[in-house]
């Protein structure tokens, strides 16, 4: 059989295939490295857990709740802080020969700037993914990503400190996601990743617990928002939100994603990313599609209503 070139380059990030883990569903690769049958060298990129300037304990229990075709999480960004990431986690992640993306979160503009400064030129870091879904403590705790100007300010703060490619992870919990995507593109964002979780709650022992909904339940929302943003910006999009099978990847490509991230599906099947990479490759072989452009041509949308 002829070989298939699944590679894709996004803002200088060279990926051997378009499949990567979604931040928060992959730890910092250490646990997946212990999994028989998981070859981290075969992933498109590695992506870290959400990292903050200082270590964070995260939320109290309960933190997760299953819902029909999805789950709600309120982990609260438990993480060891950027210094431990630099000294211990990044060197581990860098050994697999695939690009490493570090996901960063903050509660002030200066947090983002400071983290970018410290991560800039750290060996093994290929790009930063900026989570702007967190509450802005200087701005009434409204998430940074809910306002075009504020979102752009975060990107500018980071851009001023690093030349690394910047992937901005957009929250779907907004009125007009297109205006936010355009605002961050204008100030130097290189890539958009979307969507983060949808705001939801669950009831636990008579208490209402806020969190973010993920899983197959949110896929239609993700497809809708990606298709809108893809038509409004020029920078590439990493699509995510409920991907669990090959057809989902095709659907995300067809609305304009250049690569995809797998999140919640890793929990039900810890080898799902390996499976999807193999399936994507054999699909392309079977249909004699030499590369992803040929694949995208084949699955191109034929209109809509």
């Amino acid at each position: 059989m002829s070989s298939v070139d699944l590679s894709v380059e996004i803002a200088g990030i060279k990926m051997q295939n378009p499949i990567m883990p979604a931040s928060g569903c992959f730890g910092n690769a250490e646990e997946f490295a212990q999994l028989e049958g998981m070859n981290l060298k075969k992933l498109g990129t590695l992506v870290s857990k959400g990292t903050t300037l200082k270590p964070q304990e995260g939320s109290k229990q309960p933190r997760i709740w299953e819902t029909p075709s999805g789950m709600i999480n309120c982990i609260g960004l438990e993480n060891p802080g950027v210094e431990v990431m630099i000294s211990e986690k990044i060197p581990f992640m860098a050994q697999f020969g695939v690009p490493v993306i570090i996901n960063v979160s903050g509660s002030k503009y200066s947090d983002y700037g400071e983290m970018a400064k410290r991560l800039d030129r750290v060996k093994g870091v290929s790009a930063l993914e900026i989570n702007i879904s967190c509450p802005n403590i200087d701005g009434g705790r409204i998430p940074f990503g809910c306002d075009p100007k504020i979102a752009a300010n975060v990107v500018s703060a980071v851009r001023g400190e690093t030349n690394l490619p910047l992937i901005i992870k957009l929250t779907p919990n907004v009125t007009d996601i297109v205006s936010i995507a355009q605002a961050i593109e204008a100030v130097g964002a290189n890539v958009i990743s979307m969507i983060n979780t949808l705001k939801g709650v669950f009831i636990y022992k008579g208490k209402i617990i806020q969190g973010g909904l993920s899983g197959p339940a949110i896929k239609p929302v993700a497809l809708n928002l990606i298709s809108q943003v893809a038509q409004a910006v020029k920078i590439p999009i990493i699509g995510m939100g409920g991907i669990s099978m090959l057809q989902d990847i095709f659907d995300f490509f067809s609305v304009g994603a250049s690569a995809v991230a797998i999140g919640t599906a890793n929990f039900k099947d810890p080898l799902i990313m390996m499976k999807l990479i193999n399936e994507l490759e054999s699909y392309c072989q079977t249909h004699q599609l030499g590369n992803l452009d040929a694949l995208k041509q084949k699955i191109k949308l034929k209109g809509g209503r």
């Binding site: 646990e31 995260g58 309960p62 999480n73 929990f267 810890p270």
Partner: protein, 267 residues
């Protein structure tokens, strides 16, 4: 099998039988290179959820292994759609699982005069594996305490220790009428000098056991349970606060020193 490697594979169901009210026992034969002798008491496996609209892994303690048959057992309560589907699986069918998971500190029972295993409800499952391992040495003494709400939920236990199983039922139909913690509180008065207590069950019960142990200056290990999404330590859904910082029940546990658990933060 490399140490600490987690294996993902389909396991064959050898037996799947009801053992008490709402309670089933499944014997699994994991094919390929899952070595049951490489598992230790307290460890668990995750089963792929059977319901198509479920997204989270289902963790179950290993309750027994058979080295000669290369099989292991889990005991589970039917509490929802996934465990109901599990109870309908027939011999010869397969289910995807991954493991062994969780910390694997080997308890050296030679260091103690006796090891008391205090189980509440389905929490008895991992303690049976402990009991077998301890009782393999003739001079080691394990005592099993087993509490259930009503007698119909009581699993007929097969134990290896010559010591009689101490049973408490809340409905009072047989044996001690009351909570297992009350029975334990009575028995610990005449405890041996060097006693280790291992407990598994509802959080409130384990907390009580832990308090009694502290009162009697007795070492206590608790096998905790939390809802998990992955079981392998990446989602942080099962992280709990301890006196030693945040710990993942799935990866840093499920066995914890009871005195390090901050019980009222378990949710």
């Amino acid at each position: 099998m490399e140490e600490n490697k987690v294996i993902v594979l389909p396991a064959e169901i050898i037996k799947n039988e009801q053992v008490a009210k709402n309670t089933w026992q499944m014997t699994l034969y994991p094919r390929f290179d899952f070595d049951v002798t490489n598992t230790s008491p307290g460890q668990f496996v995750c089963l792929e959820p059977l319901a198509s609209d479920s997204v989270m892994a289902r963790p179950f303690s290993i309750s027994m292994i058979s080295t000669s048959k290369s099989t292991f057992k889990i005991i589970y309560r039917v509490v929802g759609k996934n465990t109901l589907l599990m109870s309908k699986l027939k011999n010869g069918q397969t289910i995807k699982l991954w493991g062994p998971l969780g910390n694997s500190e080997i308890i050296d029972s030679r260091l103690y005069d006796e090891v008391w295993l205090i189980g509440g409800g389905i929490g008895i499952a991992p303690l049976l594996f402990f009991e077998k391992v301890i009782s393999e040495y003739q001079e080691h003494i394990a005592r099993v305490f087993y509490g259930v709400k009503d007698v119909l939920e009581m699993i007929p236990l097969k134990v290896y220790t010559p010591e009689e199983v101490q049973i408490a039922t809340e409905d009072g139909l047989i044996n001690f009428h009351g909570l297992i913690t009350d029975l334990f509180a009575q028995k610990i008065i005449s405890k041996p000098a060097k006693l280790l207590v291992i407990t598994c069950g509802p959080n409130r019960m384990m907390q009580k056991v832990s308090e009694i142990c502290q009162q009697y200056n007795t070492e206590c290990l608790a096998i905790l349970e939390q809802v998990m999404a992955c079981g392998i330590g990446v989602c942080l859904g099962c992280s709990i606060k301890t006196t030693k910082g945040m710990k993942r029940v799935c990866h840093d546990g499920p066995i914890f020193k009871a005195e390090e658990v901050i019980w009222n933060e378990l949710g």
